[in-house]
């Protein structure tokens, strides 16, 4: 048995102590040790963006971090963005505007969309495309994703919610 390290991960406001090999990625720890399978793994080398999570509020790729590096950080996954049973406005927009088809890229897309709005609450379509260029979708052709993010921006501005 290889060396393991005990680490406390704070994910979606809940701290949990896990024991992992140093080589275990944060993405795998979130899925396997914490049972939060909303974070998806596509390419596992930092290209597709499906495993995007927020770490101390900044979007990062959880396949390019090791679980042991998550100690002391506040991590937010797709499971942590809604309010109880209520969807986050970005999730609602993806649902209403058909921003997803198979859904595999969606957790990363939604977190990336929230990150875009955090930096600019009213981005244009071109800015959304550039800012979300690190997240790959093989179904939608992106048009509906861009529309979803714009719709979420409008909704959040109406509700006075900040990303």
């Amino acid at each position: 048995m290889a060396e393991t390290i005990t680490v406390v991960l704070d994910v979606n406001g809940v701290g949990k102590e896990i024991s992992v090999e140093p080589r275990k990625t944060l993405a795998d720890a979130i899925r396997e040790d914490l049972g939060l399978t909303g974070t998806h793994l596509g390419c596992e080398h930092g290209v597709c963006g499906a495993c995007t999570v927020l770490m101390d509020g900044e979007m990062v790729r959880s396949c390019l971090l090791f679980a042991v590096q998550g100690a002391g950080a506040e991590i937010t996954t797709i499971e942590g963005i809604g309010d109880g049973g209520e969807l986050h406005p970005m999730q609602r927009a993806f649902s209403e505007y058909h921003g997803l088809q198979c859904g595999f890229c969606t957790p990363g897309m939604i977190l990336a969309g929230i990150d875009v709005l955090r930096r600019n609450p009213d981005p244009g379509p071109q800015e959304i495309r550039e800012e979300m260029g690190g997240n790959i979708c093989r179904c939608t052709g992106y048009q509906k994703i861009v529309e979803s993010v714009q719709a979420a921006a409008a909704e959040m501005s109406k509700e006075g919610v900040s990303a």
Partner: protein, 290 residues
């Protein structure tokens, strides 16, 4: 797609990190932002026995400017991109960094890691070559100063750092008041690695170019373009001089073919982008576009 077994340490000071590097030697690999190293680990293209994770060393992350710029090696690319100290004195760095990967990559990726990885298609090595930068490398035995050329020159995916050395600081001299800059890159999609790119800094004396520095990337290795630079000195800024420099740049750049583009195509791009970077640089001399 899982890394091979390694042992792991997370030092909290430079001294502690240097001790670990001295102890583990060539068996160790430094983990900074990990945006290039972790893919290599996941693919098992790299299988270091020991990882020295320097992310807990706060003293390696800073931006300090008094005309010239000092960047701690662990400074995240997003911090460089968003720094007013960087954009006021060295807007070429702000622009170049915005081309590196995507936001999520820049949030973790570091300026020192990008330089030390020395990917021939990456922006950082060529940019720092064009800016006549120098770096500090430290080991348990002491420290030394290297020019960017000495660090990365004529190399790809490696540097002249020893196994026991840690890149700690990058220093970029102030740009002359009469200088201008240009940065041009072509990639298939925004955020992709460049097919080709050129960073240019020119200093003007009236309408004539008194000095030029060109750093190119997207070939066999990041390189200065000394023949193109020499052709520009004393020339009147304008299309004729830019085209002549572009021809020389295309001829001298050490390019290569791969699945993304042929050697001939990349050579052509270097010529065109050199001309565009020079036009951009000579149009913003004197800090006009800050």
């Amino acid at each position: 797609m899982k890394p091979a077994v390694f042992s792991y340490s997370a030092p909290e000071s430079i001294e502690e990190a240097l001790g670990l590097l001295a102890e583990h030697g060539s068996e160790a690999k430094v983990l900074a932002g990990g945006q290039s190293l972790v893919p290599l680990l996941n693919f098992r293209l790299a299988r270091p026995a020991h990882i020295v994770d320097i992310n807990g060393i706060g003293e390696l992350s800073y931006i300090s400017s008094n005309g010239s710029l000092r960047l701690g090696a662990l400074t995240r690319l997003t911090a460089v991109e968003e720094s007013g100290d960087v954009s006021s004195g060295h807007p070429i760095i702000t622009r170049a960094v915005s081309h590196i990967g995507h936001r999520a990559i820049r949030n973790r990726g570091t300026i020192g890691g990008s330089l030390a990885h020395n990917d021939p298609a990456a922006e950082t090595p060529a940019l720092l070559l064009a800016l006549d930068s120098e770096v500090t490398a430290r080991s348990a035995g002491g420290e030394r100063t290297l020019s960017a050329q000495e660090l990365v020159g004529d190399r790809f995916f490696e540097t002249s750092l020893g196994d026991d050395e840690l890149l700690t600081e990058i220093r970029i001299p102030a740009l002359a008041a009469s200088s201008g800059w240009g940065f041009q890159e072509l990639s298939r999609r925004h955020g992709d690695f460049a097919l080709a790119g050129v960073a240019a800094v020119v200093t003007m004396d009236g309408g004539a170019i008194s000095s030029a520095a060109l750093g190119a990337f997207g070939g066999a290795y990041a390189a200065r373009l000394p023949e193109a630079e020499a052709a520009l000195v004393g020339a009147e800024a304008g299309e004729a001089a830019f085209a002549a420099a572009g021809e020389r740049a295309a001829a001298e750049f050490p390019t290569t073919s791969d699945v993304h583009g042929s050697e001939e195509y990349r050579r052509h791009l270097i010529g065109v982008l050199t001309g565009r970077a020079l036009a951009e640089a000579t149009s913003n001399t004197g800090g006009e576009n800050g």
